[in-house]
Amino acid sequence: MKGNRFWAWSALIFGLIYFALPLIGMTEFSFRMRRGEYSFDAYRVVLADPNFRATFSYSVTLAVLTIILSVCLTVPTAYWVRLRMPRWRPVIEFVTLLPLVVPPIVIVFGYIRLYNTSSLLPLTGTITGTNALLVAGYTVLSLPYMYRAVDTGLRAIDVQTLTEAAQSLGAGWFTIMTRIILPNVLVAVLSGAFLTFAIVIGEFVLAALLNRPAFGPYMQLIGANRAYEPAALAVISFGITWACMGLIQLVTRFSQATRASR
């Protein structure tokens, strides 16, 4: 068994070196802006750039809107499928997995051709319309993660009994949704939401092809024109992704702890 453990350690260490090098590389590079010494200059330049703030807050706004739309679509649908239309579950599940099959660049290609200014629904003709289209696109990208998270969350509760209990107490559908179902799947919804946030913040293709000033295209532009700022942006992005995943773990662990103490 000693040989076994040797191989396990070497596989792990080899992998860790591969993962560590780019992370160390980008961090070290981001400090190199001032000649001869390490400094935070690259970060100072990036954070002071008005375009950074504009694109970043634009992407944050879009991420929040995407999460809201995604929750409004997936929670009632997953609930309804479980409650009334279980036979439709495979179909709905298949549709939510489609965005993993159809590459995002193809989806946005379809948008550009389908919703152009000469079509029935000329969404790309106005800025608001294009923003709405971008949110819709991001919601599509979030569907596989959001729907699966919510559906798994619903599996843990007895939808039928909760609904009947609420109805017998005189609750309407809106009350059932917001005060019974949503609180019960909140952890799942939050997990899906943080993952969606991490995806939307750095997304490039949709925003670039719809010509919206989002954070992803901004990073690409900086990467094509600057030397040290891109590394700083990479460090910041990695921090955001890490924070989102950390928050998912935190809410999951918190819910397990409260559930165990009940």
Partner: protein, 291 residues
């Protein structure tokens, strides 16, 4: 429930459709219709008649070359990602490492599998680019000039190496539950029957894991085949892979024929569709053993 009269129950069933309407409408407008539009466009002339000429147009040397290099990058990054990811997942599950290794690696995998796109390209440029950390250290410490050996980050090898950064973690996340599903009884039974460790892996564990491994290979393939942002930020448009060609086509009609663009997009859906079909089929098979 059964005591209820039949009529209201029927009415509620017919009304139940309404509950799915918002989702169905959204999915139709923003997922299915745009995709169908592209697919139908690939088989139509600009005048609207049916044609196979667009798809035939894909079989020109430059487009075929783009597909070939895309398929090679996706295949090798998927295969190497599978092997390394499997080795690391095996290390933390059946490799008898201290328990402390498992949970941090899984957390990190969750982060790294989502750390793709533009920033990932920056990280690799800062590491293996011409003035990157590893390039400089190799030169100063070992006297190896990486770029004189023919290595270039903006190439097939560089792109594959970069894609591994999200492929390996994805493999770890998918295969760890499968490895956990290997029951201890199976290994004990094999041992009692006199099997060596190697025989156990070759004749028991790997045949059980095979559908999972093959399915994940297909999933990783599709995952990197559709990726645009990393490659675009890394190489600009100097490396002609299919998604970058399509990106350039959407931006400026570089192929000079909009319907050839539809055909290119259709080709992408076709490749990722086949890969995902293999994944789903294999997944269904592997669920027989691992619950």
């Amino acid at each position: 429930m059964s005591a209820r009269p039949a009529a209201p129950a029927k009415a509620s069933i017919s009304l139940a459709w309404v509950g799915l309407l918002p989702f169905a409408l959204f999915a139709f407008l923003f997922l299915i219709l745009p995709t169908m539009f592209i697919v139908v466009g690939a088989f139509r002339t600009p005048e609207g008649a049916f044609t196979l000429a667009n798809v035939r147009g894909l079989f020109t040397p430059s487009i075929l070359a783009a597909f070939w290099i895309s398929i090679r990058v996706s295949f090798w990054s998927a295969l190497i990602g599978c092997l390394i990811g499997f080795a690391m997942a095996a290390a933390i599950t059946v490799g008898r490492l201290p328990n402390g290794a498992r949970s941090p690696l899984l957390t990190f995998s969750g982060v790294a599998s989502n750390f793709a796109g533009v920033p990932l390209a920056f990280a690799f440029l800062a590491t293996l680019g011409r003035v990157g950390l590893v390039t400089i250290l190799l030169r100063e410490w070992f006297g190896i000039n990486l770029y004189a050996t023919g290595f270039n980050l903006l190439s097939f090898a560089g792109l594959t190496l970069t894609y591994l950064f999200f492929q390996i973690p994805l493999m770890i996340l998918i295969v760890t539950p499968a490895l956990d599903g290997l029951r201890r009884e199976w290994s004990e039974a094999a041992q009692i029957l006199g099997a060596t460790r190697f025989q156990y892996w070759r004749m028991v564990a790997l045949p059980i894991l095979w559908p999972t491994l093959l399915g994940t290979l297909a999933l990783l393939f599709a995952n990197s085949f559709g990726a645009v942002a990393t490659a675009y930020a890394l190489t600009g448009s100097s490396l002609s892979i299919v998604p970058i060609l399509l990106y350039a086509q959407i931006r400026g009609d570089v192929l000079g024929d909009p319907h050839l663009g539809y055909a290119l997009a259709f080709g992408m859906i076709f490749v990722t569709g086949v890969a995902n079909a293999i994944y789903m089929w294999m997944r269904a098979r592997s669920e027989k053993w691992i619950r």
